[in-house]
Amino acid sequence: MNAGIQESSNLTGGQKLAVKYYTVAVVLFVAQILFGLLSGLKYLQPDFLYEVLDFNVTRMVHINAMIVWMLFGFMGAIYWLVEEESETELVGLKLGNLAFWVLTSAVTVVVLVYLFVQVGPAEMSTIWFIGEGREYIEAPRWADIGIVICLLVFMYNIAATFMKGKWSGISGVLVLDLVALAGLYVAGMYYTPNISMDQYWWWWVVHLWVEATWEVLVGCIMAWGLIKTLGANRKIVTTWLYIEVALMLGAGILGLGHHYFWIGTPEYWLGIGGFFSALEPVPLVAMVVHAVYDSGVHGSKNSNHPALAWLIAHAFGNFFGGGVWGFMHTLPQINLYTHGTQWTTSHGHLAFFGAYATINIAMFYIALQRWRGNVYMSAGLPGNGWKWKWALSLLCTGVVGMTMALLVSGYEQAFVERALGGSTWAAYFEAQRGTWYVQGMYWRQIFGYVTAAGLVLLIWDLLTIGLREKRSMVVPTDHVVVTA
């Protein structure tokens, strides 16, 4: 293995494929931030690119690029770990590569159509070839079918590799989760004039992906990541994973009910959704305890400082973004006033970043370490590792800043538009003109630029870390540090 230079001979077949997924993920991460900045700017300068790239287009690209880069990141992470975990070679490397190119081409075409065609006539042909106009799953139907086929190929590749090699607790949970992930997406491929029915099934995809199957997926990646970076004990990590799955799905499946308060669905969802979604933070607390405890017992001695820092950021980000920010407005008595306001945006920004961006970035660092020849990435990197530390600080400060700014706007909107104004259009606009609301929007934009600066630095670090490094990786051991 050649250390200090980037060599693909350092990687296995599955890992080379993973690196392709990671590359596209980073490109889409850039697109997410760019279109997020454009969307935020429109609140301050509504005429900016008016009728060229309107808010509905920039915001759609912002959220779609996010969903897809995270998904590419997860797929990359799983291709990365599958051969090591199963102790055998990937069964369908060619098929995996083909699916990667098909998926990447499809995503490119979809984004180009979003940007240059934008909208279509009210015909089913628009749904099939331009976009479905349903938040998060706007991709046209042809692309939906392509996505499901690529996910099935992916699932086959992973499951068959484990079947050929060795199963573990982590891989068992992972494969079952992938079955649910692919299956649930089908619930979104559906047209009905009935908006209540539409949104009922739409949430099966959106909620049961991001608040159930994705959470389990990152639980698996986290478990593997802790073994990898800290040398954490597999039995303990696996037990924690089961605890998380039990609590996550025990609360999260019926927690779906918090989306069924106001869409025409029966009143019993107020009680069911409120109760179970209030329990959703519990597994996220478990994750924090688990990550911090594992780091502590190993005296934070680890093979990859940036990766471990991002794993810890994930544990806290998931708990605060998903758990605390979700809980704040999940009870129906509060949600009645906050549903459909900037509260949701505040929660969305912190949760998606905290739960999913962080762990993907951690995996990027784990991959780079090996790609550059299992180089040293512990304490005392050149320049004291300033690039990764500043990238982490800027990204976290940027996102937390946006979250706080949006929360101020959200509070103002809930009070002025909902509680005082009677939720009319006049009340909506009165809230939008409010000083505190507008200030929130300015601060959101400023912190958006901070986030973008963090991303630039992150990419610079990803391109350079470990190059010319001659020391080799600290091998983590399952050695528990005992202090008196």
């Binding site: 969307s39 429109k42 509504p46 005429d47 008016y50 309107d54 808010f55 509905n56 915001r59 759609m60 909208v119 279509g120 009210a122 015909e123 089913m124 628009t126 331009i130 976009g131 106009g133 349903r134 938040e135 706007e138 949970v173 009905t192 004039p193 009935n194 908006i195 209540s196 949104q199 039995k235 696996t238 037990t239 089961y242 605890i243 799955v245 039990a246 609590l247 799905l249 499946i253 019926l254 069924y260 308060f261 869409i263 025409g264 009645l336 549903h339 459909g340 306001t341 900037q342 909107q413 009677g422 939720s423 009319t424 259009w425 006049a426 909506y428 606009f429 009165e430 939008q432 003109r433």
Partner: protein, 199 residues
Amino acid sequence: MNSVWWASEDFWRKMAVWLTAVMTVVLILLTFDTVKQITAGSERVPAYSAINHRIYYRFDSSRNMQVPVIGDSAPLFGTSLSEEDAEALVSKGKLTTQAKNCMNCHTLLGNGAYYAPDLTKAWLDPAWGSEAAREQLMVNFLLDPHTNARGYGTGRKMPNLGITEEEAHGVVAFLKWMSTIDTNGFPRNFTPISQEGDR
């Protein structure tokens, strides 16, 4: 290591499987009931032909919330439609909202983006001024959002999305029908347009 049963790997594996299975079964059972209750033509989600009637709200003190009421005959655009024709028109409108990507600026039933106002009660919004002028004003706005811009001093304007007259009629029908859905009192304290026959 596994000195206590509640900390053992085996116990939590079983818990993970059983909790997931039980919750999935409960969700599926609830889905059967919910789908029945939200099928168009039910009490909570009325038939599409509700657009032939006046829609208003009444405060239901037992539920402590406003509930939609389907009142006397008040056909949309002056023509009373059969159930099939009403469904076709509402469907045209729903498809328009998807084809024009309305949901990435507006919210519908509170879901979507927050750059433009919620459309759940658009049909009953006092912004339309008078009940008599409402449907035409809505069509005019959709066809030519530049001339009929309503930004209330925020500078935000709806772009011209190339909506046809047929699509605009569909959207108005869809919005009128959406206002009949029982949303458990969301949004709270909504103040509707004043209509003849209000009580």
